[in-house]
């Protein structure tokens, strides 16, 4: 947030500087707070799980052994940290940030606080694409590409159909998204029905429920490139998202090439959704809940909203994953936990009406 610091200094020259810099200091404090929470959750996640570790063991592994060569690290600790916990934690942060950021971006460009990858059908479309690819035994890249293509088809379908419906466009988009979701869910059922019950069917079923268990460092490496690129593009276009959220004509009269910008943002958001679906299955609700919570915390301006959403999304999924590992005797699929949290939140959103 180097831009904010220079804002503070410059604005001081104005008469009304105080109010302005107070606001920016507020936002900076909030970001510090969010990042500290993420750090705490990040460290705690190493400790929680079937094989509990202590802070001491963590310190030994990450820091002390580099200074004190005589320090012995038990093999099991190394395996747990490097092969089990670290990939899983990194994946949780990446997937959480991606889903939340894509939700925020969809909300902005579709002018709709109820939009999200799952509601628009992007998740279902990507899941169908990936299931299809698993069924045909495609490679990692094949699965990714197929997930992306069907993800984008479903978003465009939902959006285009909603434009043709003469009713409140916010509700129309939710309805058409549900329609597209249902369509792709049925298609997934069809694939499951014809899939080999001993091999492909369990693979597809467990993966669809959404889970980070068994995450390998290879999957994380594979996912992080498209995720980083898309998050960076969205981050740099966050002012454009603000202007696009005012509506098409309004954005054009403010000089924005709406078709081009919107397409880039849809592509990036859908890559984020599809990549997340590829490595962790369908984890719903994050894209809806987190951006709206972030909006309550830092306001509507995407300059702050988007980075806040990314940090909060990563933190949220990490917490949920810890709960799923630590609280129950058997690991509960993440998709199930996030909908227990997300569904009531969605009801509150609808109840409040949001757009007063």
């Amino acid at each position: 947030m180097e831009g904010n610091i220079s804002m503070d200094i410059k604005v001081n020259e104005l008469n009304d500087k105080n109010l302005m810099s107070i606001r920016h200091t507020h936002i900076k404090k909030k970001f510090t707070f969010l990042i500290i929470i993420l750090a705490i959750v990040f460290i705690t996640s190493f400790i929680v799980g079937r094989y509990p570790l202590t802070i001491e063991q963590l310190l030994d592994f990450f820091i002390i052994r580099h200074f004190d060569v005589s320090k012995e690290i038990p093999d099991v600790v190394e395996t747990v940290i490097m092969n089990l916990r670290l990939p899983r934690i990194l994946a949780a942060v990446l997937v959480g940030s991606s889903l939340a950021a894509s939700g925020a971006a969809y909300q902005g460009i579709f002018k709709n606080p109820l939009a999200s990858p799952d509601i628009l059908g992007a998740s279902a479309g990507a899941a169908f694409g990936a299931s299809l690819a698993i069924y045909f035994s495609f490679s990692h890249y094949g699965i990714q590409l197929s997930a992306f293509i069907f993800g984008i088809i479903s978003v465009l379908l939902a959006f285009i159909i909603s434009q043709r419906i003469r009713t409140d466009s916010a509700v129309a988009l939710v309805l058409t998204g549900m329609l597209v979701s249902t369509l792709f869910s049925s298609a997934i059922s069809l694939i499951k029905y014809v899939a080999d019950p001993f091999d492909k069917l369990p693979a597809i079923t467990f993966w669809l429920m959404g889970s980070l268990s068994g995450m390998g460092i290879r999957s994380v490496k594979f996912a992080c490139i498209p995720i980083f690129i898309s998050l960076t593009v969205l981050y740099f276009m966050r002012w454009q998202i603000n202007v696009l959220s005012l509506g098409d004509e309004e954005a054009k009269t403010l000089g924005v090439n709406t078709e081009g910008s919107r397409l880039i943002i849809i592509i990036c958001s859908t890559i984020l959704t599809a990549t997340s679906v590829c490595i962790s299955g369908v984890i719903g609700w994050i894209g809806l809940v987190i951006p709206n919570l972030a909006r309550l915390l830092v306001g509507s301006n995407y300059v702050y909203l988007l980075p806040a959403t990314m940090v909060m999304g990563g933190t949220f999924l990490l917490v949920v994953d810890c709960v799923s590992r630590g609280l129950f005797p058997v690991e509960v699929p993440l998709g199930i936990l996030t909908s227990f949290i997300g569904a009531p939140f969605f009801i509150i959103l609808l109840y409040k009406g949001w757009r007063e």
């Binding site: 410059k10 104005l14 902005g108 002018k111 202007v243 959220s245 000089g255 757009r355």
Partner: protein
């Protein structure tokens, strides 16, 4: 700055709504457009902003045809305030004003300290700096109009188009908005606004364009166009113009409907 419309016909999907509009407007002039509902005023504005293609005719700025200009370039010349506008997300008033800086920003950049300074200066010009942290969705209609005017000032364009800026405003707010528009034009901004109130044209317009039945009824200097006969034709009702004795507005008249 000079805006010229030459025999421009506007409409939807090739069906004309308003035919053969020609006028020119110079820096510092205010053009009021009067016409019944549905006479194509908004369509005309959208066509000037390139949101719609003209069916025939040419629009030019400083003698250059704008038909091939990008939205970015147009937004550098013309600020546009649509009718009854409300965003979905509760941006603050300052953020709304900052949106006016978009044409001056690159595709991948956010407003800099200088842009914030300009936005706050333009709010100060209109005396609405106290609104800056309030949600745009929660302030009154008059305040919203002022914020959108501040946005147009921050956009630093030479021409401002306003679609019924006083619509839904109470008497005091109407006067407030119109006085600010007058001030802007005195500083050299050209202004086009649609209105349903003939007195607004008497008070603030330099030029008046009357549109009705898919065509131009009259265009010209205020004094020439705003006659009882033209207004009667325009609105299809009996009305009377009564002179008002005022030193600052020598030719001011009020329009009273329903009187022969």
């Amino acid at each position: 700055m000079k805006l010229d419309l030459d025999e421009v016909t506007v409409g939807y999907k090739g069906v004309p709504v308003l035919n053969d509009v020609s006028f020119s407007l110079n820096a510092g002039e205010v053009l009021c457009i009067l016409g019944p509902n549905g006479s194509g005023k908004t369509t005309l504005f959208k066509t000037i902003m390139k949101l719609k293609q003209p069916i025939t005719g040419m629009i030019s700025i400083d003698g250059r045809d704008i038909s091939s200009w990008s939205f970015d370039k147009i937004a550098g010349y013309i600020g546009y305030i649509p009718q009854n506008y409300s965003p979905v997300f509760p941006y603050t008033a300052l953020e709304m004003v900052l949106m006016g800086r978009t044409p001056r920003l690159g595709m991948c950049s956010i407003p800099k300290a200088k842009d914030i300074e300009i936005a706050m200066e333009s709010m100060k010009t209109l005396d609405i700096l106290s609104l800056k942290d309030k949600a745009f969705t929660k302030i009154s209609g008059g305040e919203r109009q002022l914020v959108l005017i501040a946005r147009a000032i921050a956009q630093q364009t030479k021409l401002l188009i306003m679609d019924e800026p006083t619509n839904n405003l109470d008497f005091g707010n109407q006067a407030l908005i119109l006085n600010q528009i007058k001030k802007l034009s005195q500083k050299g901004m050209a202004v086009i606004m649609a209105t349903h109130v003939p007195e607004h044209a008497f008070l603030y317009a330099d030029k008046v364009l009357m549109v009705k039945d898919r065509g131009v009824l009259a265009f010209g200097k205020r004094k020439e166009v705003l006659s009882e006969e033209n207004l009667r034709k325009l609105y299809g009702v009996n009305l009377k113009l009564m002179p008002v004795v005022s030193e600052s507005y020598p030719s001011l008249k009020v329009c009273i409907p329903g009187v022969l």
